[in-house]
Structures are given as structure tokens and as C-alpha cells.
């Protein structure tokens, strides 16, 4: 009997799937064959461990999900406290004074804000719209059909639903991609899809909510890393009015759009991002913004809800910085950004042709 056939028989025996006759015969065999007996004992322990491993994984994933949901619904909050013991002591000492002061301040603040809401015209609470995309069932079907047409089997398990989508692009040929952190919100599993329709399993390397940047890495044996990326990254401030273009997945197919840099800062003067006048829709989040030389100047991440064509992008500078801090923390991370672009000087259509292979759709499975 082959090893793996034996494994099957033993598992059937241990899980009680054997009929009475077969079981009897097996037990006889076990009695007369100490080697088999030993194997059964080993498997018993091993399968028990395997079962426990599965249980713990399921429990952990439930814990993780709960944490995410409660955090999203605001029922648990980050405290943002870095208080040491000294501050705690001070707190204990002055608790009463602080309480009185705080209530006075609180009442005053409430009063003022009450007045404000009464006398002020109503403004929208959050004037920004993150551009991740909700994926409908119909699109999922058509996407699967296209993938099959291109002879790629979708790797996404039939049970799991792709809930959100966005765009990502390669920053290092070793399989590192960058996207917007909000695209991955609540993600349990991530797949990225190439323009040919092939899915690759990816994992989150790091996400930074502050700059809205996330690094993911393709972790899939079918993935063949390219030799070199055609585009580079620039830290230099782009000039106002300079032409830019982006590629992204607001629908199930790659979409090109062009525009210009309209302001050096983002929403409410945010210096980490810049403002671009371009057409962008849900699904464009995480897409690269290229200048005319084919250098990445930023990552598209949001649009102003109350205005037309006002789109924001996180500047490339932030990618450089985030990589630096990551490297300090984890020596294994070896992301290198190219500084020069090899598509400089060729016309736009040719640039896009070269670039599009490295832009991937992000498919987020919430679990």
C-alpha cells in the first residue's frame, strides 16, 4: 500500500467512517502488525493536532473580524495614549480638578457647537470620497468569463465573495505592489488580477492609514516577476499645470484617464497629497499617477465629493519615506524603487502599452 493510501485508511478509521466489517478487519491487522499500530497512533495524534489547528485558526479569524467590525463601527476606539506611569500618577492626583475643569469646558464647548449648528448653514460632514469600488455579482461573472476565455482559471474560491476592488501597481519586480490603504480595509484575503485576467494571491506587507499607502506582495507560484519595471519614481515636486495620466480599474477592464496637476496640496491644504484635475471613479483608488516622462508622482486615492473632477493623490515622496521606516523595522523587506524611467521620451500610447502590464486590479475578500 502506498503511503498516502494508508493515510486515507487511517483517517477513515479514526474519524469513524469505516463500516463495522472493514473496521474489524483493520483492527485485526493492527493487532498483528506493530508497525501499523505505531502509524495509527501517530496519525491519531497528528490529526488531533490538525483539527485543533483548524479550530484555532477559525477562532482567531473570528477574533480578527470582530476587532475590525467593532473598530469600523466605532464601538472600540484607539485611545492614542502614550501615557507613562508618571502621567497616570498625575491623573490620579488631579482627577477631581480635571473632572471639574473638563465638565466646564465640555459644557461650554457643547454650548458653542450648539450655537454653531443653529446659526451655521449645513455643510457635509466629510467632503471626501474614497474611490474603492463595490463589486456587483454581474461583474464578478463577466470577470470570471473573461478569465476563462483567456485560459486562466480563477483562483478565488467559489464560496468567497469579492466585495471591494481597487487598483495597484508594481513598485519592485520581486512582486511588491502599492495601493491605497483604504482599499484593503477589512480584507481577509487579497487577489490581484493582471490585465490578462490572471489572478494572483497577495498578502499585505504593511499599511499606513496616515498616508493611505499599503504595500502588498504577490505570493503565488504562478507569478513570474518581470526583469525590470519600465517606469521610475520621482520625489521632485511636480509643477502646476503639468500633464499627468493614470491607469485604473473603475470597471472590470483597465481604463486610461488624463489630466493635470491643479494644486500642490490636497484637501484642506494637506501637504502629503496633491490635487489633480482628472476623471476618477470608484475603483481608481490605488492607481499610479504618471507625469509625461512616465515617472510615478503619486497614488490616486480620493476625490472631493462636493466638486467635479477634483481628485487627490498621495505624493510619491510618501512611498519613499514609508519604505525607509519599514526597512528600519524589518530587515527582510527589500523594496527598491527605480529612480529613472526607461519610457521617457516615447509617445503616450507606447508608454501606456509598456506600463499597463504592471497595473493590477485589487480584489478584496472580506471573509
Amino acid at each position: 500500500m502506498e503511503q498516502f493510501e494508508l493515510a486515507e485508511v487511517v483517517e477513515r478509521y479514526l474519524t469513524g467512517e469505516m463500516g463495522p466489517e472493514e473496521k474489524h478487519a483493520f483492527e485485526e491487522m493492527r493487532k498483528n502488525n506493530p508497525e501499523l499500530d505505531q502509524t495509527v497512533v501517530e496519525y491519531h495524534f497528528f490529526l488531533e493536532q490538525m483539527g485543533r489547528y483548524g479550530e484555532i485558526r477559525r477562532f482567531k479569524s473570528n477574533l480578527y473580524d470582530t476587532h475590525q467590525t467593532l473598530q469600523e463601527s466605532g464601538e472600540i476606539k484607539e485611545l492614542q495614549l502614550t501615557a507613562g506611569t508618571r502621567i497616570v500618577n498625575m491623573w490620579n492626583k488631579y482627577r477631581r480638578v480635571v473632572a471639574v475643569a473638563a465638565s466646564i469646558a465640555g459644557i461650554t464647548a457643547l454650548f458653542i457647537s450648539g450655537m454653531m449648528t443653529i446659526f451655521n448653514p449645513k455643510t457635509p460632514f466629510r467632503d471626501i470620497e474614497e474611490l474603492r469600488r463595490k463589486v456587483s455579482n454581474l461583474e464578478k461573472q463577466s470577470s470570471n468569463q473573461r478569465a476563462e476565455f483567456n485560459k486562466f482559471k480563477t483562483k478565488i474560491a467559489p464560496g468567497s465573495d469579492v466585495k471591494f476592488g481597487g487598483t495597484s501597481f508594481m513598485i519592485d519586480p520581486k512582486g511588491y505592489l502599492v495601493t491605497s490603504a483604504h482599499v484593503l480595509k477589512g480584507a481577509k484575503k487579497i487577489y490581484v488580477q493582471s490585465i490578462q485576467g490572471e489572478d494572483f494571491l497577495a498578502e499585505i506587507v504593511h499599511q499606513d492609514a496616515n498616508s493611505d499607502i499599503a504595500f502588498i506582495k504577490i505570493n503565488d507560484q504562478d507569478f513570474e516577476s518581470p526583469k525590470q519595471l519600465p517606469y521610475g519614481f520621482t520625489r521632485i515636486q511636480t509643477d502646476l499645470s503639468e500633464a499627468v495620466y493614470t491607469l485604473g480599474f473603475p470597471k472590470d477592464e483597465i481604463v486610461y484617464n488624463e489630466g493635470y496637476l491643479s494644486a500642490r496640496t490636497g484637501l484642506e491644504g494637506d501637504t502629503m497629497s496633491c490635487q489633480i484635475t482628472i476623471t476618477a471613479n470608484p475603483g481608481n483608488s490605488g492607481g499610479p499617477i504618471f507625469n509625461k516622462n512616465g515617472e510615478v508622482i503619486g497614488i490616486l486615492n480620493a476625490r472631493q465629493a462636493s466638486a467635479n473632477g477634483v481628485v487627490f493623490a498621495t505624493k510619491s515622496k510618501n512611498i519613499f519615506q514609508l519604505i525607509e521606516t519599514l526597512k528600519q523595522r524589518d530587515k527582510d523587506i527589500n523594496i527598491k524603487l527605480r529612480n529613472t524611467s526607461s519610457i521617457k521620451g516615447i509617445n503616450r500610447a507606447q508608454q501606456v502599452k509598456k506600463v499597463q502590464d504592471h497595473v493590477y486590479m485589487v480584489k478584496v475578500i472580506l471573509g
Binding site: F4, L63, T66, E75, K155, P158
Partner: protein
């Protein structure tokens, strides 16, 4: 304080990996632990890790046939977290002052030792799983973690029928068993 039937119900449900129960316990207790950890030289991430580990201890206890809850879940979780956090602080020598104590605690030392033992076994399997490679890893996870049946697995991994998938699964299992025991003997 007396333990209500409702509390016991929640405790049992935790052992059954019940989402509603986990959420209830989470809501009820997370901020306390978060406050405790962040006020004792810990970060938000530390708080989450410690709390989730304590939840694992609670889960293991709940699955133990003979175990009886003798205090409120809140007290138990707090005591476990306190102990775990102290251990972690001592381990990293971050401890400078005495850890603040602002609630009643119960003895949990043995429970945590038991948990460490179980955790070691879990880690052993995890390491073995990390070494087995694809497609074995996904295949075994699909069956034992995500509890998919062989037919679903066959469809997902592109096997022509469930029997082929099953053969592949057992081939993977034989390899994993070898890796597991090699790891287990080292541990």
C-alpha cells in the same frame, strides 16, 4: 459576585466559536484591557494582541470538559491579560515600575501555563504548514481550516474530480505529518 446563567451561556458559546458571543465579550471588555495595557507602557497593538491571546485562553477553558467558571468573564479576562502583559514586560525588560492594579484579580497562572503548552503545539503545526509549500498548504487549509468538502476543493483547485483531489490531499498530509513530527521533536 455571583455568576449569572447568561454569563455561563456566553462562556460556553465562546468555546463553540460563536460570533455573537465573541462580539459581546469584545464589546464589554476590550476598552478595559486597552486602558490597562496602554497605561502600562504598551501600545494599541500590544493591547489588541494581549486581549486576543486572553480570548484564546478563555476559548481553551471553555472547551475543557471539566472546567468551571468561578468568576465573571470580565475578572477572568482581566487577570489573564494582566498576567500575560506582566510576563511580556518582564521578558522585554521594559518594566520599570509596578504595574497598576485597579481591579480584582483571580489566580490564572496554571491556566496560562496550559495555554502556553497548547500554543506551542499550534505554533509547531503552523511552522510545518509554512514549510509545506503550495498547492499543499492551500489544499490542506481548505479542508481542515475552512472545512470545504472535497467536491468544492476539486473545483477550486482544478482537479477533474473529488477522488483526484482526495489523493492529492493525502499525499500532502503524508508530507505534512513528516514535517510536523520533525518540528515536534525539535520543540
Amino acid at each position: 459576585m455571583a455568576i449569572t446563567d447568561q454569563e455561563l451561556g456566553v462562556f460556553k458559546s465562546i468555546g463553540n466559536n460563536d460570533k455573537a458571543a465573541i462580539e459581546a465579550v469584545y464589546k464589554e471588555n476590550y476598552s478595559l484591557i486597552q486602558y490597562f495595557v496602554t497605561n502600562n507602557n504598551g501600545t494599541e497593538d500590544d493591547a489588541r494582541d494581549i486581549f486576543q491571546e486572553a480570548m484564546m485562553v478563555l476559548y481553551e477553558k471553555s472547551r475543557l470538559p471539566g472546567f468551571e467558571l468561578t468568576c465573571q468573564i470580565r475578572t477572568y479576562l482581566y487577570s489573564v491579560c494582566r498576567r500575560l502583559w506582566l510576563k511580556k514586560l518582564q521578558h522585554s525588560r521594559r518594566i520599570e515600575t509596578k504595574v497598576e492594579n485597579f481591579d480584582q484579580i483571580v489566580q490564572v497562572e496554571e491556566d496560562i501555563e496550559e495555554h502556553d503548552k497548547l500554543n506551542l503545539q499550534y505554533q509547531t503545526m503552523r511552522t510545518a504548514m509554512g514549510k509545506i509549500g503550495e498547492p499543499c498548504k492551500s489544499l490542506i487549509e481548505a479542508f481542515y481550516v475552512h472545512r470545504k468538502n472535497m467536491l468544492e476543493i476539486a473545483g477550486f483547485f482544478g482537479y477533474t474530480n473529488a477522488d483526484n483531489a482526495k489523493n492529492q490531499k493525502y499525499k500532502c498530509l503524508v508530507r505534512l505529518k513528516k514535517l510536523f513530527f520533525a518540528q515536534y521533536k525539535n520543540a
